[in-house]
Subunit: 112 residues, 2 copies
């Protein structure tokens, strides 16, 4: 993935959307899901993911449940009520962003 830089700022949007779709997920699961959904195109690093999860939790968008699976701890995240609203916000911001970029980058024809 050579266009890593472009993903800057979109991580929390991705996390929130996945949790909206899947109910609850744990960190490692999110990294695998993103890799699968994008056919390996986007690999979320753990150094980015965990701080982002903690921040979303601190902001009140996510809540946490611990669960013991195979003698190993899992930390499940799910949307709070507030988080559910935030998903919609983030998605419409992303939509707006994409529209603006298309206005800027292909005034008439296709992007390329």
């Amino acid at each position: 993935m050579s266009n890593k830089k472009l993903y800057r700022g979109s991580l929390s949007t991705i996390i929130l959307k996945l949790l909206g779709d899947n109910g609850r997920m744990y960190g490692y699961e999110i990294t695998q899901k993103v890799k699968a959904l994008t056919a390996g195109e986007l690999q979320i690093t753990e150094g980015a993911l965990y701080p982002a999860l903690h921040k979303l939790e601190a902001e009140g968008h996510l809540k946490v449940e611990f669960e013991q699976v195979n003698n190993r701890m899992r930390k499940y995240y799910a949307l709070t009520e507030d988080g559910t609203k935030e998903v919609a916000n983030k998605l419409s911001e992303m939509e707006q962003f994409i529209q603006t970029m298309q206005q800027l980058l292909n005034p008439k024809t296709g992007l390329a």
Copy 2:
């Protein structure tokens, strides 16, 4: 503009594309052009623009010409040969990014 964060990483793409379309531009002109093209949605700050221009120049993507207009200096930027290739790269990266985000964020229907 509440979705400022999403623009992180896309500034150099915007600059390169505008220079590709317009031949040559000076910094202030770029800020005004972006504001006009996006109906005020995206306002490039000078604190972001000038460092970005200097970096693109240092990387060999842009070349500079000074010009005196109305007793005031203008610094015109234009693409180098290398910069012309970079425009294509950046645009296809942006295209790929948008596709990936759409895969992730609207698996079936529209984005919203």
